[in-house]
Symmetry: C2
Subunit: 286 residues, 2 copies
């Protein structure tokens, strides 16, 4: 079941590389082209089987492709889109994999020339790791992908894009760009701030003992600081709101602790455990 | 290298069962006895190779043992110690594996009859999982164990206990009971409250999308609520202090977000990443 004749992935790191591998493993693309700014990474992408053709030129890379995937740092999406827009084939669909959506949709959707479409996507996969060396064909299996169309998005293009993410194993959820950012502020951006803050609280005394709980809880704090700065700034209002909610819950725990109210503490912990157990259950979706 | 002639483990769950397996794998005990309150769990402990003998009676279980390990819920340590104290063999050493230390040391150390010793221990291993079915001989490998002696602790007993934890693969750190609790408030108890609070912030909407970052960050919130209620109450003052520190850091992030101060956000994230990367490096210790 070939969905795309030619797919160009711009930025062949953890996400871009894994997508190339997955598209090929599932037979969803006839050819996959990798675009990067260092030939060494592109050679590694070929060696790992993520792409077959490579080029350092985004314009040359997108020529003749019916799907273009922006998988670089989000800070580069806008300049890259400006560069490739004139070279996009008629009917081409451009998608991204960025972690915020309202700003990206507002900037990039109008940049698609007539007959070409930009659709925002956020596959919620990957880790604090980066680079083609961690890429794997099953990275997306069982994870969720949020797609954020607007009233201008042609339904057939949306369907093809959803079908592609579903084809590499993802559960699809369609949200407005703003709905995406509000949700991600809670389940991801706030979590990053909290993890970084928990690290801060610990004495940097090199002899400090940390266990498996601490290591898991703070894992995301080892993510790329510049990438996360951009994500947090792009979604500052929603993240601030989520921070305020977090503070309310922490204050409630603090009050219960000071009152020695074991019943309340246990009730809150029980409710948190139940909610988490519910949220991590594999779920079906559209 | 046999350290102990006969070891009695009271409570053969994840920690107790893993310790039995590890002592036997490393040849550190001639015999390992398991004490529990359900014969079915004890039978499973035998089947998994964690212990050879079992009994439902703590008093019978400790008779003739030179090492006794309290590995039940910490709420039971005091009544169990009261029950077994008269039956402890001359020279016997009793240790625990509880997650707080000041209260436990104050209560249990004076309960050891003359010629017998209680030494507080906290092996920082395990996970939100519980039960003998998750036990494994290598649970302690590479992890840290904090031992909290007092001026009354006989140095030879302390050395033997340290040697035992080291023998199952742990890095040893010796702290005062109060020093342990202050440290654990930061690296564990606060982390638990933060993880539970992050779960609370998320809409319990069953359709909510959570990714690998959220799952890791909140993992400890699936731990046993009653156990964690006890830990948090036992260390309420230190945990409250740690909560206040966390709030200061979160406020600092909030301020930077509202000011759109990307430089400050990136600096804080970079520092958190560097500290975490330092803290999770495997370290040598006493």
């Amino acid at each position: 079941m070939i969905s795309w004749n030619r797919v160009t992935i711009i930025g062949v790191g953890l996400i871009g590389g894994s997508l190339g591998m997955a598209l090929k493993a599932k037979g969803l693309a006839r050819a996959v082209v990798g675009v990067g700014h260092r030939q060494a990474s592109l050679d590694q992408a070929v060696a790992r089987g993520a792409v077959e053709e490579t080029t350092l030129s985004p314009t040359a890379g997108v020529a003749g492709s019916d799907l273009v995937v922006l998988a670089t740092s989000p800070a580069l999406f806008q300049p890259i889109m400006a560069e490739i827009a004139p070279a996009l084939a008629p009917g081409a669909v451009v998608i991204d994999v960025g972690s915020t959506k309202a700003g990206i949709m507002a900037a990039l959707e109008p940049m698609a020339p007539p007959g070409r479409t930009f659709i925002g996507c956020h596959p919620i996969a990957g880790s604090e790791q980066r680079g083609i060396e961690h890429a794997r064909a099953d990275l997306f299996e069982g994870a969720a992908c949020i797609i954020t169309p607007t009233p201008r998005t042609p339904p057939p293009a949306l369907d093809r894009v959803a079908e592609t993410w579903r084809g590499v194993g993802m559960r699809i959820r369609v949200l407005s760009p703003q709905g995406h950012d509000r949700l991600l502020a809670e389940v991801s951006h706030l979590v990053h701030l909290a993890a970084a803050s928990l690290v801060y609280v610990v004495d940097s005394d090199s002899d400090t003992v940390v266990g498996p709980g601490w290591i898991d809880t703070t894992r995301v704090a080892s993510g790329d600081p510049a990438l996360w700065r951009d994500i947090l700034l792009a979604n500052a209002a929603d993240v601030t709101g989520a921070l305020d909610e977090l503070r309310r819950v922490l204050d409630s725990f603090r009050e219960a602790l000071r009152a020695g109210d074991g019943t309340r503490i246990e009730r809150m912990l029980t409710e948190a455990k139940a909610r988490r157990d519910r949220l991590i259950e594999p779920k079906e979706s559209r």
